[in-house]
Symmetry: none
Subunit: 204 residues, 4 copies
């Protein structure tokens, strides 16, 4: 008699709780009981939906990724110039508001966990592929209309992605040096450098 929607809803409730706990305490310190408490249910219930703790955290990681990508969809379908889309995209990825920051925290934990977990490595592979191809797409669009320099688009995408990742990690760790405005300045500078000049300041 169980309506499937109830199950799905419960699962999401648990995953959301799990991500919150990961954000607040990290997976290292995450306890199934913490997740249960935050989701407002018993540990038994959590185990009813997720066989093991590992299954739970992996699902949470995946859920976090999926939602992050979903939040960017809007940007990609905008009718602005490729260069503007790239700026918007990058800007939306840098940890700014609580939601992005939370997502980044979970992300960071996923990476490190992935260092010792093949399943998570596969997840990272899958998601980065998508993330990278989105950027590559924008860059190709820019090259097509002549607003982005004519270099290997994949190399340019790698540059953008890595830069954002590196900046974000330091910002998350709370480096007083790496402020939001500094992150944006660095990114702006890079995007300027790969944009075809039309009065803008460029690298050289």
């Amino acid at each position: 008699m169980a309506r499937p929607s109830v199950e799905a809803q419960r699962r999401e409730q648990i995953l959301r709780a799990a991500c919150e706990v990961i954000r607040d305490k990290g997976i290292n310190a995450l306890r199934v009981s913490d997740v249960a408490a935050r989701a407002g249910m018993s540990t038994g219930a959590v185990h009813y939906y997720f066989e093991t703790k590992r299954a739970l955290t992996h699902a949470a990681f995946e859920w976090n990724f999926t939602r992050s990508l979903a939040r960017r969809e809007v940007i990609l379908t905008r009718r602005t110039s490729p260069s503007e889309r790239l700026r918007a995209f990058v800007s939306s990825y840098l940890p700014g508001d609580d939601e992005t920051t939370a997502a980044w925290h979970v992300w960071a934990e996923t990476w490190v966990e992935a260092l010792h977990d093949a399943e998570l490595r596969a997840l990272n592979e899958r998601v980065y592929e998508e993330w990278r191809s989105m950027i590559t797409e924008i860059i190709r669009d820019g090259q097509a209309d002549g607003t982005i320099i004519d270099r290997d688009p994949v190399l340019l995408a790698d540059t953008v992605v890595s830069l954002v990742d590196g900046l974000s990690m330091q910002a998350l760790v709370g480096s007083r040096h790496m402020t939001a405005s500094r992150m944006h300045a660095v990114c702006e500078h890079l995007i300027d450098a790969i944009s075809v000049s039309s009065g803008r300041v460029k690298v050289s």
Copy 2:
């Protein structure tokens, strides 16, 4: 008769073992007994030198950082051109040989642990300051002799550091896309872009 401080030696032995365990299993899965076994002693002995597991891992993080910085000293004192020094420095930081890779693993764990630990945040702050200032120094040298473009050297340093960090993380996680040669290509491209042209291919 006091034996000639076996202490420093023992501590190093333990810290080395701890870093190896962190590299292989992560802090999450690190057991004091693993460290003891790898160091060839009892858990009691480990606790004789480090009060708690936390003290042990923090000391290991610090030790890892210290050694990494020490390994770069040579590069900085070379008599090559700033641009070459920058290339050498970056190249030595990208995860290549086992030693660098191991250091990166421990590093990555430190970051994520730092998200929830003020002490480690302070450590990160301290080390990144040094790391960043080394790069800034090289860039300033390059600007002084006209081989590096005349832009805010701190911003350029941030770009280099973040790029290396971002690329390395993906490489460590085992992304099949992010190969050693790709990392190097991306870095080369960036360094070219910020070098003053003298025949080299540049961004624009």
Copy 3:
């Protein structure tokens, strides 16, 4: 379906076991696993009800006191003469049967533990206050009807309580000198001495 609070029942089961272990081995040698075994459950279960070993032993001390006082209630409501009530009360307190002896053992451990523990000192204060006031009450009744001598009732109560405590300690420690009959003789003698003569032998 919430089972009808198995909790109170389990807690009591554990506390009883803890008191038995304290009686047999002392707190010094008490192991949580001993308590668990005696209560017929796992150590995990004990920790499910009592956060720490300290919380467990303190609760056991309190439980022991509470039960001891409860066992005396009957005596106080008897319709006998104050002097007889006093004799009965004192007699019931001297370590005689297994139950009283067990209570005394736990008691003794509490005292010594209290020497270094403020929480237990407070517990001792609370219980002794009650214990002393019970005796004082009886003495006042005796003075009211002229069967107990007209001296400061608190001082008399202190005398009775201390005497019982001191005798009991020696008896518990197993002094061959301090037999049950000797304890009773000493107490009888004291009570005679503070009773108003009506043919009984008195101190002077």
Copy 4:
């Protein structure tokens, strides 16, 4: 070449330290390393003089007893009246100054430890026998010269000893009710009661 006096001196130094630790933390919390630290030597040295921790604490208990008895010797040889000697003796036993209080703490720990240790029970037996006979002696002297009532001197001695023990325990535990003056008042009252009247206030 070891002068035996050095050994004896070292042992005493350790025993004194052990008693101080017992006073401050109790045997439960006593660590061999605490004793070593307080005695200003290594744990190895402590073990050189005492095979096991048990041997150490037992020796400390014995030492404490011996010294306590020694301190009373003076009183017994005084040329005052038996009644005065009794008062002086009792008064010197109630926990007053730091030295007596410290001795009492160790004492209390001994009792409770003795509940589960035959060797300590024997020690208690031996010492109490001595303690009791000292009091009995005084009482007999008093009865001989007619200043103490003609009752079984052993019973009277038991009364005195138990009273002092019971009062002291409560005082040590820090009962706010059981002050020094109250202890003395109770004891005075008892001694008055067993003294033959010659103007003094008596029980009846």
